[in-house]
Symmetry: C2
Subunit: 255 residues, 2 copies
């Protein structure tokens, strides 16, 4: 431990943590400030990370995550096994719809998008791969919430729910009823809950036909195509069943 | 610096470096051995990485890269800007062919695959996203080599070239002539150079119409479809022109 109580390993992690999808590029002074480190300390840690390839320097002198860290992280099993199993089915859905096809997992009270397929004609979205949203705020998140342990649902529902649009459900009782509905109906149509301009159709991905829910798959369409969204239930269900069976096969093989 | 000359930050990076696509999961003793650290040291570093979310523990007690490190690394601009610009065009190519569509960048003397689209009907490949290959060994790599600085080509050609199949070009003069041909013809058909069962068609992605080459785009088909590969030149060229223009637009906007 150094004088200010942060271990050297902790300093490395603090520096890495200042980079995210909203801040892909940072100057040294921004890194020092965001990491809560002296500039001289930040400089030393950044140099060590750069020598290894975890950070790279742009022509303007700012720093960003390097290809080597990306390579190490691309082996993350929670995203990789899921993506490998899901992508062919996501391709089929994309080809049938030409809309945004998204895959997300729950991490605590947040939703993390791990894959997205989009084409020239797909509607623009707020969400990006590698970004987090409160689990209750999106259709895919509510699907994951509906299948999360009861104690966990209680925790999310006990906090104030953010209103993203005039349509966002913020009353905990209404949301709880919606979670019951999601468990019964399998597919959930989330109508302009996160953005006025989009409607999402989402369903749970399991490990095997009836195993635990490990992810949510969603199709996001323009709000003016809301009726169309309802017609996407069947292809979405076929895709999540296909992915669930594939994940079940892989889990059995790994045992 | 500790007694054995490795800084604490260096230990963190050594531990992270033991994880890759071939070794997504490691026991503590494997981590210690591969990182060249005492088990007690490895244990302390792993615990610190796990507390932050960079590593996660599986039910069998082994360790793997955690979602939080994946999120940080997903902001890597070299992969992210390229993927964002390329994916819609890659989708078009996939839809037109149903073959593997791959995107790769050069990192030193190696090729790193940064994106792949594949469907149920696409041929199985040796390559994976996040894996490296010697730059001379694949069609996409040779395209990048053809557009690399001359000194760099000399360096690669001075080393023995690995023979992956009986068809692999290993004579440096033949390969140099091939690099000249690639620069003239734009599209390169790589016939069973890495695997007996595959043929690749590859072309360079530039930053803007006539800017520097930043990546290679490739379509990989079964070797029995080699004639078909030649017919993919035109759609591939359209895709790389589209991506190059999009990258040029983004580069101008960022200035």
């Amino acid at each position: 431990m150094s004088a200010n109580g942060v271990s050297a390993a902790g300093k490395v992690l603090r520096v890495l943590a200042v980079f995210d999808r909203e801040h892909p590029s940072r100057t040294l002074s921004e890194i020092a400030r965001s990491a809560g480190l002296a500039v001289s300390t930040a400089h030393r840690v950044v140099a060590e990370l750069a020598a290894w390839g975890a950070l790279e320097r742009a022509e303007d002198g700012s720093w960003h995550v390097g290809l080597r860290l990306w390579e190490v992280a691309s082996g993350c099993p929670r995203t990789q096994i899921l993506r490998d199993a899901a992508l062919p089915f996501m391709q089929d859905l994309y080809e049938a719809t030409h809309e945004n096809i998204q895959l997300a997992v729950r991490e605590g009270t947040e939703l993390v998008f791990v894959e997205r397929i989009a084409g020239h004609r797909s509607v623009d979205l707020l969400t990006m791969v590698g970004t987090r949203f409160p689990v209750a705020s999106t259709g895919m998140g509510r699907v994951l919430l509906a299948h999360a342990p009861r104690e966990f649902q209680d925790e999310v529902l006990a906090e104030p729910l953010r209103s993203w649009t005039p349509h966002t459900v913020t009353d905990p009782r209404t949301l709880r009823a919606q979670l019951d509905l999601i468990r019964r109906e399998q597919v959930f149509v989330s109508d302009r809950q996160l953005s006025e301009s989009t409607v999402a159709v989402a369903a749970p991905v399991r490990i095997g036909r009836s195993g635990p829910v490990s992810a949510a798959l969603g199709i996001v369409v323009a709000a003016r195509g809301a009726e169309r969204a309802r017609g996407l239930r069947e292809p979405l269900l076929r895709a999540v069943h296909g992915i669930s069976e594939e994940l079940g096969r892989r889990a059995r093989t790994a045992l």
